[in-house]
């Protein structure tokens, strides 16, 4: 049946990773090279080679993921191994450094490794937690269905305003057109609502419309509430109440859509760190290895 990526194959790669770490730590403790422990000792080279091989293999996950016809295991198995062995890399490489750091290309590779692994761990946490939130938030609907519900609500709002004074039609039309979903990366990740609306400015003979921020439909709901409180025409009051109901539903729906986009953004954003920096790490690794051999 369904199985989490961490539990894949009875967590066999967790045990593999623990074995790698235990062996590396054991060897490190038992090893007495006679010089301060560093990457240049026999054990240092061994751990360094192991680390480099692991990095290359971990990066080949990107190829396996896209080799759709490949019969080399399942992508889930590969990901499970990628996660556990990726974390074990921290232990292997830290021991390879012999805890010697400095302002050089070698430490740059080491720092990049930490950032890549940390972003990966963040990704795992997000993958474990957010799909459930996404599913609950969407209910049994798809994003397209939510969007079509939204279009539907907009059409119903405009049908109601067709029989009302013109400023209502203007406001609801502007509300539809100036509703923003998404926007900047920050707004997306923070779930911010930067929607606007045009509402009539009080006073004067000609009606002027002013753009106002309308997060969570609040400006529109306030305005409709004020108009309802001031209304003495029974017909208009009933229409206003209907509008309030529709706009309220619209607020809920927009909230769900925004939350959906937010969760999906978090599911993806870490990859923008993880993947480019892993290539940065690869470059630093090559520089590290070459420089070690050239300046030996």
């Amino acid at each position: 049946m369904h199985q989490s990526v961490l539990a894949y194959g009875r967590s066999r790669y967790l045990w593999a990773a623990l074995a790698v770490c235990a062996t590396a730590i054991g060897a490190y403790v038992l090893d007495s090279p006679g010089v301060p422990r560093n990457g240049g000792t026999w054990l240092g080279y061994t751990l360094g080679t192991l680390g480099a091989v692991l990095i290359l293999w971990l990066m080949s996950f990107g190829i396996r993921k896209r080799a759709y016809a490949s019969q080399a295991g399942t992508v889930q198995g590969w990901l499970s191994a990628h996660i556990y062995l990726g974390v074990s890399l921290l232990v292997v490489v830290t021991l390879h450094t012999g805890f010697q750091v400095g302002w050089n290309i070698h430490t740059l590779a080491y720092v990049l490794l930490w950032i890549v692994v940390a972003s990966g761990v963040f990704g795992v946490l997000v993958y474990l937690r957010y799909p459930r939130l996404l599913s609950s938030n969407r209910g049994s609907q798809t994003k397209d269905q939510l969007l079509s519900d939204l279009a539907d609500l907009d059409a119903r709002c405009l049908r109601v305003t067709a029989g009302m004074p013109p400023e209502f039609g203007e406001a609801l039309l502007a509300n539809r057109d100036r509703t923003l979903l998404g926007g900047t990366a920050f707004a997306l990740l923070a779930g911010q609502d930067r929607s606007q609306i045009l509402l009539p400015v009080v006073g004067g003979a000609t009606v002027l419309y002013q753009a106002l921020p309308n997060p969570d439909q609040s400006a529109l709901l306030d305005w409709l509430g004020q108009r309802l409180a001031a209304s003495s025409d029974g017909g208009v009051s009933r229409q206003l109440q209907e509008l309030l109901g529709l706009v309220g539903a619209r607020r809920t729906l927009l909230g769900r859509l925004r939350r959906d986009a937010q969760l999906k953004a978090w599911l993806e954003v870490w990859l923008y760190v993880h993947v480019p920096l892993s290539f940065g790490l690869l470059a630093a690794l090559i520089a590290h290895v070459l420089s070690v051999f050239i300046y030996w």
Partner: protein, 802 residues
């Protein structure tokens, strides 16, 4: 009307009729081709522009005076048009035939306009589409009324009335409503018998006031309006009469199947089933002497078959003897046989030897053999294994066949020449119930499921014999492995075949337990009343039985059992069942074990009512008839769509699954993807019989698909699409280093300009050509996508609601 009497009149200007007329013209025979519509090949004219028409079966040579080869609709229609002119064919368009009286040499053919045509012989090639049903009110013939709609975008800003409440009417109304004012007239107070998707769309359009609907209304007359341009339609409804001024009336109230017309001509059918084919001789002659039936109406739906028959029918009508075009194909098939006989003699020998085939007319039998495989397996060779998903039907022409029956004992049942086997899977769509091996000198005829189903529905004798055997063997497999066939026959005689519609109750909790139901096809849901609420406690698939609990305990029914899909059961009455139990102590133990297991399951489910809801949900999605279904656990799915990409990449650029579409319940999502039904809806009407079933259950489409789209329409789950293969992608390095073409997982060039290549039906084939299992599941990074068979639903539900 008196006039010339033609030697041959040909009715229907489709491929068969055209080919017949062309041959008659070339031979210089006096002839007339009567076509009801204003152009030739009416059905092909209605194909969408540029549609690629295939020329299956590829192995069959074309024998016609008209050209035909695979190509675009325009090329084929154009070639025929030229042929019509070149051969100087005497064709009368708009000549809708309403009746044929008489017999050779004096036929009188009456036309809709009241005139008559007389002929010595008649070739009927009207196909099976039928004529559109007319409104049946004064004014129905006015030009404002049309019965087809080719391009809805042709009309703009008109008031259009669509009459009808079926899928065609809804689809037309919705398309027209985009730029017209549309009223849909529905005789009933709701839209029933329409596809779920169409129902939703039409209800929404009505709610949004994009479309008006007149419920419980019917049209009483149509007359020109006072302005002389528009027309007035009078509707009678609940609130009396109303008059609607409109620019156009589109009637989509179905088509009259040609069956009644054909019967009125005096042509006999073997039985009342709608699928029955007219009785024909091996020369296409019907029960009316001199009246020949060819093409789809005679059971040959492919263009090339119909064209060959048109040619042959003219030859036969003239009293000539010619070798049918398929003769060499049959001769090649017969090479494995140990008989040195001609094709006709071999066919006669087969029919004489095999009783189940003896009642079939020679023409249908020839077609059956043409579609069948003839094999002479070596002794001991496996024909099929227990639990294979194949569903063909075998008859033994020579030698013997051994069937392994019984659970452990491996006792063997030997069948001899003339006997048949394989009917269990054929009828239930379930796995093979026993392993079968060839004996000495074995020669088999393996008939595909479609051909046999056609026979079952048209030849009463075949149906009866197969049903009797099915019941006896079903009882044998489930209850009496040791019993002899004669004993079984007595039990089978008291058994009843019953058929239930989806959601129909088979028995109700608390009723008297009077029978046991062995599920022959479909599946059932078992529900119990727990605290006043109907809770589904389990799902039982075909091949198992229900109702044993009440019988064993001799109490009333302990649960309510409903069919989840169309279901057939073999029911045994209580007395017979108790007799069986008394005779066979092992069986008693088995049944008691089943009762114990089900009681334990019931108790567990009663403690988890939410799991019952999940079963109900899965059954509502039609998974009761699934054999292998893709389910996504939404608590694991990150929405990366790697499954869809893997599917597209391994299947010519088109994903056969839509991850996001489809319903969700308790975080279990059922994406739009083939569930490989037990009794696949897509297989019902495939002209080239291109849909097959592999031993492990997958339903797949072969390359001889002609792209007609029937399977797409017949699939209730919307998992079949028509798509053209996308061009090959460049190699990985070429893409990576030189930016050539789309990279891995990216849409291929050309896949959006699908008109380029021929479109064929594509669907999930469980990656049968890829190896390693379904690519969608193997490509899922988080393990959210799994494919399971319904037997594992209980486990899934247990895991999910834990």
């Amino acid at each position: 009307m008196t006039g010339t009497r033609y030697r041959i009149a040909i009715i229907g200007g489709g491929p068969g009729g055209l080919s017949a007329a062309a041959h008659a013209a070339r031979l210089g025979i006096s002839h007339v081709l009567l076509e009801g519509s204003p152009a030739h090949a009416n059905t092909i004219q209605r194909y969408q522009k540029g549609k690629h028409v295939m020329a299956e079966p590829a192995a069959l040579p074309l024998r016609s005076d008209l050209e035909f080869d695979a190509g675009t609709r325009e090329a084929i229609l154009g070639a025929w048009e030229q042929g019509l002119a070149r051969q100087q064919i005497n064709v009368r368009y708009g000549a809708e035939v309403t009746g044929i009286q008489g017999a050779t040499p004096e036929f009188s053919i009456t036309l809709r306009d009241g005139t008559a045509v007389s002929a010595e012989q008649v070739i009927l090639a009207i196909g099976v589409q039928g004529n559109p049903r007319r409104i049946g009110v004064p004014g129905e013939d006015l030009p404002v009324v049309q019965y087809t709609l080719d391009d809805p975008d042709e009309y703009r800003d008109e008031t259009i009335v669509v009459i009808g409440a079926g899928d065609a009417a809804i689809e037309n109304a919705l398309a027209l409503a985009r730029q017209n004012r549309v009223l849909i007239v529905n005789r009933s107070d709701e839209f029933n018998r329409v596809k779920e998707g169409n129902l939703k769309l039409v209800m929404k359009a009505i709610e949004d006031q994009r479309l008006e609907c007149a419920y419980k209304s019917s049209c009483t007359r149509i007359e020109p309006a006072s302005d002389g341009r528009r027309h007035v339609l009078t509707l009678a409804g609940d609130q009396g009469e109303s008059r609607i001024e409109c620019d156009r009336i589109i009637a989509r109230i179905g088509a009259t199947p040609p069956r009644r017309f054909v019967e009125r001509c005096g042509i006999a059918f073997p039985g009342p089933e709608p699928a029955a084919l007219p009785v024909l001789s091996s020369r296409y002659e019907s029960s009316v002497p001199g009246l020949y039936v060819i093409g789809a109406l005679g059971g040959y739906p492919l263009i090339k078959q119909a064209m060959n028959q048109g040619y042959e029918a003219v030859e036969y009508a003239l009293g000539h003897t010619i070798e049918p075009a398929d003769e060499p194909l049959l001769a090649a098939k017969f090479q494995v046989l140990p008989f040195i006989l001609g094709v006709d003699d071999t066919l006669a020998l087969m029919q004489a030897r095999i009783p189940v085939y003896s009642a079939i007319n020679p023409l249908n039998f020839r077609e059956l053999i043409l579609g069948s495989r003839i094999a002479a397996p070596a002794a001991g060779e496996v024909i099929f294994l227990k639990n294979d998903y194949t569903n063909s039907f075998f008859t033994i022409l020579a030698g013997t066949v051994e069937i392994e029956v019984g659970e452990e004992r491996k006792s063997r049942l030997t069948l001899g020449p003339g006997q048949f086997f394989g009917e269990m899977s054929l009828l239930s769509g379930r796995r093979r119930s026993a392993t079968t091996r060839a004996g000495a000198g074995c020669v088999l005829i393996e008939a595909p499921r479609r051909e046999i189903n056609r026979l079952i529905s048209s030849v009463e004798g075949v149906r009866r014999v197969i049903d009797e055997h099915f019941i006896a063997r079903a009882i044998q497999t489930s209850f009496a492995p040791e019993a002899s066939y004669d004993d079984l026959k007595a039990i089978a005689a008291s058994a009843r075949l019953r058929r239930y519609k989806p959601d129909e109750v088979i028995f109700t909790e608390g009723d008297e337990a009077d029978s046991l139901h062995l599920i022959r096809s479909g599946s059932v849901a078992v529900a119990r009343d727990i605290g006043g609420r109907d809770v589904v406690t389990s799902y039982v698939a075909a091949g198992n039985y229900v109702g044993e609990m009440g019988l064993v305990s001799r109490t009333g029914r302990t649960a309510t059992v409903r069919a989840t899909v169309t279901t057939e059961t073999v029911s045994l009455d209580a007395a017979t069942f108790h007799q069986l139990l008394e005779k066979n102590p092992t069986l008693r133990d088995q049944v008691q074990a089943t009762v114990r297991r089900r009681l334990a399951e019931n108790t567990r489910m009663a403690g988890q009512p939410e799991s019952g809801d999940l079963i109900s949900f899965l059954m509502q999605q039609g998974l009761g008839e699934a054999t292998d279904v893709l389910l996504i656990d939404e608590t694991l799915c990150i929405g990366c769509d790697n499954c869809e990409r893997a599917c597209a990449e391994t299947h010519a650029g088109t994903s056969r699954l839509d991850r996001e579409a489809g319903p969700t319940f308790a975080h279990i999502h059922v994406p739009t993807s083939c569930r490989h039904c037990e009794d696949p809806h897509c297989m019902t009407d495939c002209p080239p019989d291109a849909i097959g079933r592999a031993p492990n259950g997958e339903v797949y489409i072969r390359d001889n698909c002609i792209g007609c789209g029937n399977c797409e329409r017949n699939c209730p789950y919307g998992v079949i699409q028509m798509a053209a293969a996308a061009p090959e992608k460049p190699g990985l390095l070429n893409w990576l280093l030189f930016g050539a073409g789309p990279g891995p997982g990216q849409a291929r060039h050309g896949s959006d300009q699908g008109d380029k290549g021929p479109k064929k039906a594509v669907k999930c084939d469980m990656c049968r050509d890829v190896g390693g299992g379904p690519a969608c599941v193997r490509a899922c990074p988080t393990g959210a996508a799994i494919r399971i068979s319904p037997e594992k639903f209980v486990q899934l539900i247990h895991d999910t609601t834990r």
